[in-house]
């Protein structure tokens, strides 16, 4: 039965697309499902949502403008970083609005597979680093040097860190060298994954409010720096290429120029929507304002985006293609 069914499927497929075979994501494939994504005329634009609020802030502002100024349909599927890149290949994703480096994915999808292209900087500078609450830096001034972390490892012990100090990480999909750093810098710490941005935020807030010890992975731009006083721990300074081999990394994270990545197809046929994405460029303060409204003022992404857009006519007018 199964054989016959498979044969049937196969025959059906072959009949549908001649005998050329089906390449996923190729617009020429006549049997392509879902009428494929976008992008000619006022079509649909699919902006992947990666799991941190700053990203969402950018995505929502762009989505709002696409919808209300250019009359596109916008879909915002929740897809994590690595999978979102695969979406370029299948047509499930048109835009990643804030890309944090990912040299391996750039090589794979832009250089080798040629299914994606960069659409330029978002204007945001992204820095990943290790942070402690300010009260700790006040109380133990030398804690901000990684060389002294082992001295204080006991402070950071938790039920999950197996007798070592805890270094709290975020979502499993985030860009991180922390495992390698702990190993290569001989730190008596264990990387414990909180699982989400929300887990990090909660821990950071508690660390300030309840004077709890906390060493954690975090990044700017982020609104939390306006609410919680955090101090960055100095790792060995970043030098060009020191992070080339992920296993041997023993230096701090690089400062990244965050950029937008779009599918090749969207770049070619996306018309005004692509122009808008390409022109989109704002500051860390802009992003933090929208992200803060979304997290702390109970606004949806759309409401927060609208508020910013109403207040910043001049900025976004420049992005709208003529």
């Amino acid at each position: 039965m199964k054989i016959r069914l498979i044969a049937g499927l196969l025959a059906l497929g072959l009949a549908a697309a001649g005998c050329g075979g089906a390449k996923v994501g190729e617009p020429s494939s006549s049997a392509a499902p879902q009428g494929q994504s976008s992008a000619s005329g006022a079509g649909t634009v699919k902006i992947a949502i990666n799991p941190w609020v700053g990203y969402e802030a950018s995505a929502n502002v762009v989505a709002y403008l696409l919808k209300n100024e250019l009359k596109y349909q916008v879909e915002l599927p929740e897809i994590k970083e690595q999978l979102a890149w695969e979406g370029f290949e299948t047509g499930d994703v048109d835009v990643i609005i804030e890309n944090w480096g990912h040299p391996d994915l750039v090589k794979k999808f832009i250089d080798e597979k040629k299914v994606a292209v960069s659409a330029g900087s978002t204007g945001n500078k992204g820095i990943i680093g290790w942070y402690v609450p300010k009260w700790m830096a006040d109380k133990y001034p030398d804690i901000t040097d990684y060389k002294n972390l082992n001295k204080y490892a006991d402070l950071f012990k938790t039920s999950e860190s197996g007798g070592k100090g805890q270094l709290l990480d975020g979502d499993p999909s985030y860009v991180t060298n922390d495992e390698a750093l702990v190993k290569n810098l001989n730190l008596n710490f264990k990387v414990v994954t909180g699982g989400s941005e929300a887990a990090l935020l909660k821990s950071a807030t508690q660390a300030q409010d309840q004077q709890k010890a906390l060493l954690f992975y975090f990044w700017t731009p982020h609104w939390i720096f306006d609410k919680v006083d955090l101090v960055r721990v100095n790792l060995p300074a970043y030098t060009e290429g020191c992070d080339a081999d992920p296993k041997k990394v023993a230096c701090d994270y690089a400062e990244l120029d965050l950029d937008k990545i779009v599918s090749k197809k969207f770049a070619d046929t996306g018309g005004k929507a692509y122009e808008l994405v390409k022109n989109f460029k704002w500051t860390n303060e802009d992003q933090n304002a929208v992200a803060n409204d979304m997290t702390n003022n109970g606004m949806t992404g759309e409401q927060a985006a609208k508020k910013w857009i109403d207040a910043n006519q001049a900025k976004w007018q420049a992005w709208i293609p003529k």
Binding site: G13, A22, E86, E112, S159, E160, E179, V192, G195, P246
Partner: protein
């Protein structure tokens, strides 16, 4: 070996427990001597992990040149995608009034006006919850997955039902398909079918095909041999026998297969969203990454409502001809049958399909459908915004309040359990030499279940060691063990209470039903809110998930103790406590052990989901393998190891009841 010790009933009377105690002592001594040796620590860069990751990259690079992709896998993807799109466009074209009307009409035809009312209210609630679009997407995805699952599963099931050879070959495959944590096969699935609705549909099918096959096979097997003989002796061909005898007689059980397939498909909604399948899962995942229960809850409710509505409709269909008022009870019992072949527990009733509809129900259905479709032309295309209820903020506030108020208590519980139970046990299992753990498991399984299962258990542990994921497997084993312990304690307490007080049982039942129908992810958040990202959180969530079946099994077990025995004991002057401890519990032993076995496998399934909230070890490896390309190999191996661990635990405990492992179903 367990009973050999009592062969000498000498005057010294070596007690029954001497041999097990001696062996336990021996193992303890061996542990003390060899502690810290042969521990197989985890290596993220183990060569076998890297080899798998490289294989993945190689496959990915050749995706658009390899004939397997060009002429086979890609067409499957396209075909499945087009089925989904077809369903979605039909459901969307109906518009919301149309969909409500048509679902109501179908329900009316299936089971009368009461069921129709349930369907209308259920479908309308998607709009009220403000989730109309995602609900329709989920409905389309479930419909596509169920249709395709049945298209594959029913023929295979019929075949398996007719031939025991086929059945023997299919069963272990189905076992693996269902024990395998869904996360573990998402990553390979993405490799072969990419992301999006087609991949989501296929992931759902992997999970929903097994009940379709199993229950169909069962239905065919149950067909009375005399009917078959009569037919063949009258000269019917095999084909005629199949279509005129087997299928008609197996119909009502097969309706259960359809129902079960739908329920399984619904339980995958959330996980499918991780590979970007559309639908309600998105809201739940969003809630998880924002840590806002308020976002998740409406979507969770919508999934439950969808499950209940479809369940009532299908059950009414299976029971067609019976008075419609029976629908309530049957629906309420349904989640109990979420285990794989659970449907088999339901006695099959002969039914006649079709030609049972009175003119009234036909007319009623027609009016509903037409009214809906007409209204969809008149009313606005989108569900009106002011007809929705939004309680995100309130729920979030309530959760925040609970977090603040109970923080001290919950932290205390968490820290105490971790310090007294989790850490010592984990230390024990990870510092013991691997061979000692394997030997201990072998002996335990031998004693409880016999030699063959013991050898299987040993094989599983050896395979885990060979795969190079021993340490994490032991950590996961720790979390599972603690979760099972807690589950059993709670399950026994509630089960006994329910068996002794019908009123308590009546109150408890709907709560248990809801706990089982909710997507597992919804538990993670309150657990997360109360216990942060720790192993305890994962344990807490899996306890909620695994307690209901345990309670039911215990309750049923105690209820099944013959009343005459109970009366005899009571008339002999037993107090109610004595009655429980000396009569009811011992006599319900089998049911209780079965409950333990069931609890273990369900817990294991949830602990992997718990990898998202700090369970660490295998669950986390699987999650990482799924979200970081460079760890693909490790994730895959961890997924396989979870299956091995599940089989191992099942074999160790299955002696309680020698039914095949297939019974121990779990849904994630």
């Amino acid at each position: 070996m367990s009973t050999t010790a009592v062969t000498t009933p000498s005057r010294l009377r070596i007690p029954r427990w001497a041999a097990p105690a001696g062996i336990t002592l021996l193992i303890a001594v061996a542990y003390l001597v060899f502690r810290g040796t042969g521990t197989l620590p985890h290596d993220k860069e183990a060569p076998q992990f890297l080899a798998l990751t490289d294989l993945r990259e190689w496959i990915d690079d050749h995706r658009n040149s390899n004939p397997v992709f060009l002429f086979f896998l890609n067409y499957i993807r396209i075909f499945v995608g087009s089925v989904y799109t077809a369903f979605l466009s039909v459901l969307t074209a109906l518009g919301w009034p149309g969909l409500i009307g048509v679902m109501g009409a179908l329900a009316w035809l299936a089971g009368g006006w009461r069921i129709a009312l349930v369907a209308v209210a259920g479908v309308a609630s998607f709009g009220v919850l403000g989730l109309w679009e995602s609900s329709v997407e989920t409905l389309a995805l479930v419909a596509a997955a169920v249709l395709l699952s049945l298209a594959i599963g029913v023929p295979l099931g019929v075949w398996a039902g007719l031939s025991s050879r086929v059945r023997g070959a299919v069963t272990p495959v189905l076992d693996v398909m269902q024990i395998m944590p869904t996360f573990a096969y998402l990553a390979p699935l993405v490799l072969f079918f990419h992301i999006g609705a087609p991949a989501g549909t296929i992931a759902t099918m992997i999970y929903s095909i097994p009940p379709a096959i199993r229950i169909t096979a069962l239905a065919i097997e149950q067909v009375s041999p005399t009917a078959v003989e009569a037919s063949t002796s009258l000269g019917a061909t095999r084909r005629q026998t199949l279509f005129k005898v087997y299928l008609p007689l197996a119909r009502s059980t097969m309706a259960l297969a359809v129902n079960q397939t739908i329920m399984m498909a619904l339980s995958m909604v959330v996980i499918a969203n991780l590979i970007s399948a559309p639908g309600l899962g998105g809201d739940i995942i969003r809630g998880l990454s924002r840590a806002q229960v308020g976002i998740m809850l409406p979507a969770g409710i919508a999934i439950v409502v969808m499950a209940v509505t479809l369940d009532r409709m299908m059950m009414a269909l299976a029971r067609e001809g019976a008075p419609p008022s029976g629908g309530g009870a049957a629906g309420a019992q349904r989640p109990e049958r979420r285990g794989k072949d659970g449907g088999s527990q339901r006695p099959s009733r002969p039914t006649q399909w079709g030609n049972k509809h009175s003119g009234v129900s036909l007319a009623g259905a027609a009016v509903l459908a037409v009214a809906g479709i007409v209204l969809s032309r008149v009313l606005p295309a989108e569900w009106p915004a002011n007809w929705t209820v939004n309680f995100v903020a309130q729920v979030n506030d309530a959760v925040r309040w609970a977090e603040l108020t109970w923080y001290d208590v919950t932290t205390f519980i968490k820290d105490t359990t971790t310090a007294l139970l989790l850490n010592p046990l984990e230390g024990l299992l990870t510092s013991a030499p691997w061979w000692l753990v394997a030997v201990a498991a072998l002996l335990l399984a031998w004693r409880v279940s016999g030699l063959r299962p013991a050898l299987v258990a040993l094989g599983c542990l050896l395979a885990i060691a060979l795969l190079g994921i021993w340490e994490h497997a032991m950590q996961t084993l720790t979390t599972v063990a603690v979760a099972v312990l807690v589950t059993l304690v709670i399950g026994l307490l509630l089960g006994v209470a329910a068996a002794r007080s019908p009123r308590f049982s009546a109150v408890q039942r709907p709560v248990l039903d809801a706990a089982q129908t909710m997507p597992a992810f919804v538990y993670l958040l309150p657990a997360l809110a109360l216990f942060e990202t720790t192993r305890f959180t994962a344990i807490f969530a899996s306890v909620i998930y695994a307690v209901p079946p345990v309670v039911r099994l215990v309750e049923d077990g105690i209820r099944a103790v013959p009343p005459t025995v109970v009366e005899a004991a009571a008339s002999a002057g037993s107090t109610s406590g004595q009655l429980l401890w000396k009569v009811q519990l011992p006599m319900a032993r089998r049911a209780i052990l079965l409950a333990a076995n069931q609890g273990i496998v369900m817990t294991l399934a949830m602990v992997v989901v718990g990898g998202l909230v700090g369970a660490g070890a295998l669950g986390y490896d699987v999650v990482v393998g799924f979200s970081q390309r460079t760890d693909f190999g490790m994730g895959l191996v961890a997924g396989v190891a979870t299956v091995l661990l599940g089989v191992m635990l099942d074999r160790v405990t299955q002696g309680a009841d020698r039914r095949p492992a297939s019974r121990t179903g779990a849904s994630h």
